[in-house]
């Protein structure tokens, strides 16, 4: 576990959710976390070099960011790319970690972190899906999921249908499987719930690990009250992050 020397940035934006949960989770595992609003960050003119020097981890929280105008995460991606000029691939190459949760994953997709040919779209019922899902890590590309088994996490998402460009379907699908970028799938199905980049350091997932930090976060925790003090499964992801950073 790190000794609080690594700093984490939680990039907030209008409509973002779970900021305090992220702060709590990261501080619990040993990061020194800081919440900064995107406009505030732009005003500070925090460029790519400063980002790499100052922070080891960036979190893109989920929620209805920017009212999901033009689709979830779209505006935030524009602000990151055009307003801040950040390149997360370079950040990862220099040892940084990036986590996108919910709409944060969509932001990463719009930033084309995983490639040009992937996107998410609204589910067929056009309804926010609020449920607990079991997700299973696939492959060993993603550093965030190393050593983890099936996790049960809450999901709260409208655009949860992963799509591949039909014009480049075979190639794009093959790339996804070959490189092991689709690192998290719903248990018992082929539905992709998480993606990582080629370094395994940038990870985005639809479920919200920050909302399962303690066993009591689960709806039916009282059926097994002896586990009330146990940590939630979501915390394991953050612990992995701390381990990666500590090991360099």
């Amino acid at each position: 576990m790190s000794q609080g020397k690594f700093r984490a940035l939680i990039l907030s934006s209008p409509g973002a959710r779970g900021l305090h949960a992220f702060e709590y989770a990261l501080n619990t595992v040993g990061f020194d976390s800081e919440v900064l609003d995107i406009d505030e960050t732009m005003a500070l003119k925090l460029d790519q070099d400063q980002l790499c020097l100052k922070y080891k981890l960036v979190v893109l929280p989920g929620g209805n960011t920017y009212s999901s105008v033009l689709g979830g995460g779209r505006i935030l991606s524009i602000k990151i790319q055009q307003g801040l000029g950040w390149n997360f691939n370079k950040f990862a190459e220099r040892g940084g970690l990036v986590l996108g949760v919910g709409n944060g994953l969509l932001t990463l997709t719009h930033l084309k972190i995983f490639g040009d040919d992937y996107s998410f779209r609204t589910n067929e019922k056009a309804q926010y899906r609020e449920e607990w899902v079991k997700v299973t890590p696939f492959g060993n590309r993603c550093l965030w999921l190393r050593g983890l088994g099936t996790l049960e996490l809450p999901v709260n998402q409208l655009e949860d249908q992963f799509v591949i460009d039909p014009f480049a379907f075979v190639e794009a699908k093959g790339r996804l499987e070959r490189l092991g970028l689709s690192c998290l799938k719903r248990e018992g199905s082929n539905q992709i719930y998480g993606l990582c980049d080629q370094t395994g350091r940038i990870f985005g997932l639809l479920p919200h690990p920050e909302f399962f930090l303690s066993w009591t976060h689960m709806e039916d925790w009282f059926t097994n009250p002896t586990r009330a003090a146990a940590p939630g499964q979501g915390l394991q992801i953050f612990e992995n992050a701390a381990r990666i950073v500590a090991n360099g």
């Binding site: 920017y66 602000k79 055009q82 779209r121």
Partner: protein, 801 residues
């Protein structure tokens, strides 16, 4: 730059939101009519729509749009021709329609947009993102968001679409909606600059910092005495009238109207039919560099015999020769010619004759407005350009020439030796629609010079979209300048400080325009441009009808359908010609009715021409009186006396200017369930004259909401009103339920949809226009009129049709 963006899911993906709406509609069984809609509606798609105004060059806007909207995997982005590769195969909505299961299918579009006064969060977020991409903020930028729903169903009626729009699609208090026909969906005309501009008004309050960003930092100034400014605004100032535009000089409009029966008869007998017309047109064509020519012919049809002496000079032959001559002239002079047949008599004692008229429109030849006449007025930044010595004066002149060449400057007004207020008051022609002065950051300069002579310099009106370029030009050349305000279309003069309006006046008071001066009232907008060739306009007004003839080719028109032409593609301004042929029953009320008719259609009367055949003195007096009273110029009066013809005839035509041909209307009621209002208004009283100004689009902004406007003659009486309303209902086999409780003097009946009424009524109230709701149109073809005692009179429209 004005851009319209439509974003829809690619055809290969389903539209979950649309599917959800269809399934909801299937569940709705409120009554039989509504329940059946799910059967009639076979397919539905939703698209996001944005109307965007970005104050940036085209290439940067294209980049911004590409970055913000393009999602190659899931979406198609329809932009007209801005990003052709972002959409499907054809680049139009046709690509999406292809996906409908029933093809070719019958498609309709329902479009909603957030009302300008409503909070539009989506637009705000998008604007923020676009400005982030552009890397700068501008108070001129604006976004309006909306949605477009494409529905398919062969049996869908307009009622169904309205119901869908009202109850399932738009929130009427925050959003306005309209129905688009299939043809409009398949075309890309709605992406045109003017179409987009309609939905984006100028921001009213501009943060002062935006205007000041190019200025050197000023020292904090002393408080401005706004009482003094208010006084100054109201004080009439003796202005040099010659410096202003004289309306008559703005362009060269020459007209000629002629009864040709005698001449034509002689020429017909010598077998050179049509020669007269040809000569007349050639003459105009050569003399005036014509932009438009209208020829109206009056010719009794085959039921009359030609009185000529030679064999073969039959009216039908004359007619065909005449038409052939016109066609030849049209082809050889590249001039639109309209032929009009408006008279046919069964009385054999009357003569045969042609009535020919030419209206030639040329370039502006003189006057201060000559160089500006061809510009569509838009917002322009007001710059004070200072040149303190000869060298800087030359620099400024050079920059001015460059900017004029780059079409960045709308006007320049010399200002040396005059106070700021004096300069503004003198620039009446340039600032005639109103302007805002923002004093933040220039308080000291403003305070010093508002009522004291300025040093050497001039005021420039810089086109909004070229402002940054001009600023760069000025900076490069080292010319000092101040950006102190903007022109506006509000009709108000406002002085703003920290976003607050500190002094305000109407243009009438500020420019000391005499109230209801007929000439000023009737003439507003320059019409003609320097385009060398004119083309037919593709008329996009959703309220247009087939009555309005806009094609500059041969058409038969009548008194019920004036000719409206757009002389240039550079401007939406047009010219309307309305002709009439009267007998002995002509009087002042008939003339006023024609004026009112022009106004109802949307024209601002410019001039009239008359030709008397055995004319009566009272007629001429009527015209003289109209000229004096209403300020309508009598351009031409021709009189022919022929004692052999034992009748009196008066050919007359009214030339009107149409500020925007897209806003012209016809008389017939368009849709069932429209609201009908009575607007009392003539030309005789100042209060009622407001109505005429509003209908002619001289004032106000919601005229486009009207579906129809019909003029009522003051002498019509109750039965006359009912007859007029009956005729307006016949065309579309509609009915109406009206309550006519009193006598109706001259005025207008107008109709509009329920959806538009709030905005229009509010505008009428604000402007002080009287109005009265009298009833609604109905889909059953019966006109039901109730009087004070609620007795109903029913007329079957179907029988009349």
């Amino acid at each position: 730059m004005f851009v319209r963006i439509e974003i829809g899911q690619k055809a290969e993906f389903s539209d979950p939101e649309a599917n959800q709406l269809i399934s909801l509609l299937r569940e709705v069984q409120t009554d039989q009519r509504f329940g059946a809609i799910s059967d009639r509606l076979r397919w539905l798609r939703k698209l996001k729509v944005f109307w965007i105004h970005l104050n940036a060059p085209r290439d940067r806007v294209v980049h911004a749009v590409q970055v913000a909207f393009k999602n190659r995997v899931t979406d198609w982005v329809f932009t007209g021709d801005l990003l052709p590769s972002a959409a499907g195969a054809t680049g139009t909505l046709f690509d999406i329609m292809q996906e409908a299961p029933h093809r070719p299918g019958v498609f309709h579009g329902i479009e909603k947009r957030t009302r300008l006064q409503s909070h539009d969060e989506e637009a705000g977020v998008l604007l923020d993102a676009l400005q982030t991409i552009l890397g700068r903020r501008s108070s001129q930028d604006r976004v309006v968001s909306g949605e477009l729903m494409i529905v398919e169903g062969a049996k869908l009626a307009r009622d169904d679409l309205e119901w869908l729009a009202k109850y399932w699609f738009a929130h009427e208090q925050q959003e306005s909606w309209s129905i688009l026909p299939e043809e409009e969906l398949k075309k890309n005309s709605r992406f045109q600059h003017e179409q987009v501009q309609k939905y984006i008004s100028n921001p009213i309050e501009r943060p002062p910092s935006r205007l000041l960003q190019f200025r050197p930092t000023q020292q904090p100034a002393k408080e401005i005495s706004w009482e003094e400014i208010n006084e100054l605004i109201k004080t009439p100032m003796e202005c040099d009238e010659t410096a202003m535009i004289d309306e008559g000089e703005e362009f060269n409009l020459s007209t000629e109207i002629r009864f040709s029966s005698k001449d034509l008869q002689h020429r017909t007998q010598s077998e050179i039919e049509g020669q007269l017309v040809r000569q007349q047109l050639w003459h105009e064509a050569l003399q005036c560099e014509p932009r438009l020519q209208t020829v109206l012919s009056v010719l009794p049809d085959s039921n009359r015999l030609w009185r000529g002496e030679l064999h073969g000079a039959h009216p039908l032959r004359i007619k065909s020769e005449f038409n052939r001559a016109l066609k030849r002239v049209a082809e050889t002079t590249d001039t639109p010619v309209v032929s009009m047949k408006c008279f046919e008599s069964l009385d054999e004692s009357e003569p045969s004759y042609f009535w020919t008229t030419t209206v030639a429109v040329g370039k502006p030849t003189k006057g201060a407005g000559a160089k500006n006449a061809n510009i569509d007025k838009g917002p322009a930044g007001l710059f004070w350009i200072s040149h303190s010595d000869l060298i800087s004066a030359k620099l400024v002149q050079f920059a001015l020439d460059q900017c004029l060449k780059g079409e960045a400057i709308e006007f320049s007004v010399p200002g040396s030796g005059r106070s700021l207020m004096e300069i503004l008051k003198r620039a009446k022609a340039e600032l005639s629609y109103g302007f805002d002065i923002v004093v933040d950051g220039v308080e000291e300069w403003f305070q010093k010079y508002v009522n004291a002579p300025l040093p050497l310099g001039q005021v420039w009106g810089v086109k909004d979209d070229k402002r940054e370029w001009v600023i760069e030009e000025l900076k490069t050349r080292g010319i000092s300048f101040l950006h102190f305000g903007m022109t506006s279309m509000t009709g108000d003069i406002r002085f703003l400080e920290k976003g607050d309006v500190r002094a305000k006046a109407s243009i009438t008071n500020f420019f000391n325009i005499k109230p209801y001066s007929a000439k000023k009232d009737l003439l507003e907008e320059p019409v003609f441009t320097g385009e060398t060739r004119q083309q037919p306009v593709h008329f996009q007004n959703r309220f247009s009808t087939e009555e309005l003839v806009l094609k500059p080719e041969f058409n038969h028109v009548s008194i019920a359908s004036p000719v409206v032409l757009r002389p240039s593609l550079m401007s939406w301004s047009g010219v309307m010609v309305l002709g009439d042929l009267c007998g002995t029953d002509f009087d002042a009320s008939r003339l006023e009715y024609l004026f009112r008719k022009c106004t109802a259609i949307g024209g601002v009367i410019h001039s009239m021409q008359v030709s008397f055949l055995n004319g009566l003195k009272t007629w001429y007096k009527t015209f003289e009186k109209a000229q004096a009273q209403y300020g309508v110029k009598l351009d031409q009066a021709e009189s022919i006396v022929d004692p052999e013809i034992r009748s009196h005839w008066l050919a007359m035509q009214l030339i009107s200017r149409v500020n925007d041909i897209r806003s012209i209307r016809s008389e017939d009621f368009k849709h069932p369930h429209d609201r009908i209002y009575w607007l009392p208004g003539g030309f005789d009283q100042p209060a009622s004259r407001l109505v005429a100004r509003w209908l002619a689009c001289v004032e106000g902004r919601y005229q486009n909401s009207l579906h129809s406007a019909v003029a009522i003659e003051s002498t019509d009486g109750r039965q006359g009103v009912i007859n007029t309303l009956t005729y307006t209902l016949v065309k579309r086999r509609l009915g109406a339920e009206l309550k006519l409780q009193h006598h109706f003097p001259g005025g207008f009946f107008v109709s509009m949809s329920e959806n538009e009424r709030f905005a229009v009524e509010e505008e009428w109230r604000t402007m002080g226009i009287e109005f009265e709701f009298v009833g609604r149109t109905t889909s059953s073809p019966f006109l039901v009129v109730r009087d004070e005692s609620d007795r109903a009179q029913t007329i079957s429209i179907e029988d009349l049709a």
